[in-house]
């Protein structure tokens, strides 16, 4: 990763830079700090392992998901998020370990749709069947009345297209249908894989509000995403995995607190003099452009005072808040499964064009 390319300001207010090393689980202390104890775990993953031929997709993963909050499940593509979620729902059989939901493996519940609402794939729908009939098919397995089907169609905003073939749906409409099927059984646990994928901004906001509302009602909400910015505003707790292993399991607030960075970007026509003036033990100054310095180890106020004392003109004095996205990139850098060609660094939908 090119170190000098860096977003100049945080895109997401809540997102902060993270010291990666602080979040890596130490042996014996998987959890870094006391978890927001808001109930006994509802989803319990223990030593969960899944091997596809020679490839270890999920590697002895253990964590808990608790009720009353939104738990974000983060990791780069191929990290094993979807496979883990599929094992929770019993679609994939673990090679080893267990995934327990509400005290039992999912398949052993007599009323699975009432226990867990899952959205694992937007298009787990027969393309030739209408949206309403698709939901009726699922409802029938549990004796859920058709009136509930119509309620869910209204709730997700698909009333106008409920009698249209699901095959013609856009990705966003497919996501809404998937969310409707997840909510059909009025579950206490939601397991959603990339629910905002393909949604328009209004839809993203709607999903975010829905997840927060469900959590406030005491539901357990376990939601995966590779969009850090989205998780930063939605999740109360985050679980980060890479290459099937746990990288972090802590409250989002903890992540943000540990993220406070001392880096300050200074733009001055007199960079050489300022660099000399700022030099000291514990202070690192990097020249990122002829007139830009990156200072680590000094508060912006102190830099301003030193500059004034030395009578150096400053054009910019910006405390740097690397995005949560960048922190995630750092944390998972050595676990990323699929690297883009060299030169394309942290490219993502929320990436700010960086000035150098």
């Amino acid at each position: 990763m090119c170190r000098c390319v860096r977003p100049r300001r945080a895109l997401v207010r809540a997102a902060c830079a993270v010291r990666t090393c602080a979040l890596r689980p130490q042996p014996g202390t998987r959890r870094l700090e006391a978890i927001q104890e808001s109930g006994s775990p509802v989803i319990e993953i223990r030593e969960l392992t899944k091997r596809f031929g020679p490839k270890l997709a999920v590697d002895s993963l253990s964590f808990d998901v608790r009720p009353g909050m939104v738990t974000g499940f983060l990791g780069p593509n191929g990290a094993g998020k979807s496979t883990t979620m599929r094992m929770v729902i019993g679609l994939d059989r673990p090679t080893a370990g267990t995934a327990i939901v509400n005290g039992r493996p999912y398949a052993q519940h007599p009323d699975p749709l009432h226990q867990v609402g899952a959205l694992l794939e937007a298009k787990a729908v027969h393309t030739s069947r209408t949206a309403r009939n698709h939901l009726r098919v699922l409802a029938a397995t549990h004796g859920i009345p058709t009136s509930r089907v119509d309620e869910m169609i209204d709730l997700v905003g698909l009333s106008d297209v409920a009698s249209k073939r699901a095959g013609g749906f856009s990705l966003g409409m497919g996501q809404r249908l998937g969310i409707a099927s997840a909510l059909l059984g009025d579950p206490s646990v939601l397991v959603l894989d990339e629910p905002v994928n393909g949604l328009d901004p209004e839809g993203v906001r709607w999903v975010r509000d829905l997840l927060k509302y469900k959590a406030s009602q005491g539901c357990t909400v376990f939601v995966s995403s590779h969009l850090m910015s989205e998780m930063a505003v939605t999740a109360d707790h985050v679980i980060v995995i890479g290459r099937g292993r746990l990288l972090a399991d802590c409250p989002t607030s903890e992540l943000i607190r540990s993220a406070s960075s001392n880096r300050v970007s200074v733009r001055t026509p007199d960079a050489g003099r300022l660099q000399t003036a700022l030099a000291g033990p514990d202070v690192t100054v990097t020249v990122t452009a002829p007139d830009v310095l990156e200072v680590d180890g000094l508060a912006s106020a102190r830099i301003g005072e030193i500059a004034l004392a030395e009578r150096i003109v400053l054009h910019e004095l910006v405390p740097q808040q690397a995005s949560l996205e960048e922190a995630f990139m750092e944390m998972t850098a050595d676990t990323v499964e699929f690297h883009a060609a060299a030169g394309s660094t942290s490219a993502g939908p929320t990436q700010e064009p960086s000035s150098v």
Binding site: R31, E47, D111, P112, H126, L138, A140
Partner: protein, 279 residues
């Protein structure tokens, strides 16, 4: 809280959530769900309708043509002429439609991803197999029975003086037998669908076993043929709607029993695959 490396026993606190009365999966509800699945796809009715129309159409056409050409038929042809079989000839065509649909009701779910929604709602999985088979067998039997009676009655009418009535020896057994044969073809197909999960592969296997295998068996040394040929699925199964039986073949109900064993084997394989493989 520290996480031990060894598996941690489930805390007693996390108990299953009590369900509102009656909200749970039952076999009957899964059957109902599969019935909604079947009838809400237009392709189900088109394919089934094609099978019924094909069976009746061929039966009537063959009967009409035979009646018209009676005067030109050779004495041997007249001697071996079987009006019942003649009117039920369309079953050979109908089995294509019913076989294809039987594979599709399963592999269509794999092709579209629907199977993951299905198994998410019924994670015990096997109820889905039984429900699909029950729904498809009942629908197929009803449609095939209508088609078989229509073919027989219409065909005998067109054969006029050469035709027979339902009270003729073996006539009723053959009409019902044709419907049973087609039903088991459907079950066989759905079983292969669960085992193979892929539409092209499922259809190829089904018709490889039903239609191609007998042709290959004829290439065997003739001393082996009587050990193999009668026991092949279609060779065994079709005796149930044959009046004049080839003496080297099995009897009507023994043959049908062997065909049912083939179908049961396909279903067993499909059920095993569904319950053991990742969806």
């Amino acid at each position: 809280m520290t996480a031990a490396v060894a598996p941690v026993p489930v805390p007693a606190a996390a108990a299953p959530r009590p369900a509102p009365t009656g909200l749970r999966v039952t076999q009957a509800r899964v059957v109902r769900s599969e019935w909604i699945k079947f009838r809400t796809l237009r392709s189900s009715w088109i394919t089934l309708g094609a099978g019924v129309a094909g069976m009746i159409g061929i039966g009537l056409l063959v009967s009409w043509a035979t009646n018209n050409h009676w005067s030109q038929m050779s004495p041997i042809d007249r001697l071996t002429f079987d009006p019942v079989n003649q009117s039920l000839a369309g079953a050979f065509l109908a089995q294509l439609a019913i076989g294809v649909l039987g594979v599709l009701i399963v592999t269509g779910e794999y092709g579209t991803g629907m199977i993951r929604a299905t198994l998410g709602a019924v994670p015990k999985r096997l109820p889905v197999v039984w429900a699909k088979l029950v729904v498809y067998a009942v629908v197929t039997f009803a449609a095939a029975l209508v088609a078989a009676f229509a073919s027989f009655l219409g065909g005998q009418a067109l054969l006029s003086t050469h035709g027979v009535s339902l009270s003729a020896p073996d006539a009723l057994r053959c009409v019902i037998g044709a419907a049973l044969y087609l039903t088991v073809v459907g079950v066989f197909a759905a079983g292969l669908g669960f085992a193979i999960r892929n539409t092209a592969g499922g259809i190829a296997s089904l018709f490889g076993l039903l239609l191609v295998l007998p042709g290959l068996a004829h290439a065997l040394p003739s001393s082996w043929q009587h050990w193999v040929l009668p026991y092949l699925p279609s060779q065994a199964g079709m005796n149930v709607f044959a009046v004049l039986r080839d003496p080297s073949m099995l009897s009507a109900w023994t043959g049908f029993g062997v065909f049912c064993i083939w179908a049961a084997a396909a279903v067993a394989l499909g059920a095993w695959v569904l319950s053991h493989r990742d969806a």
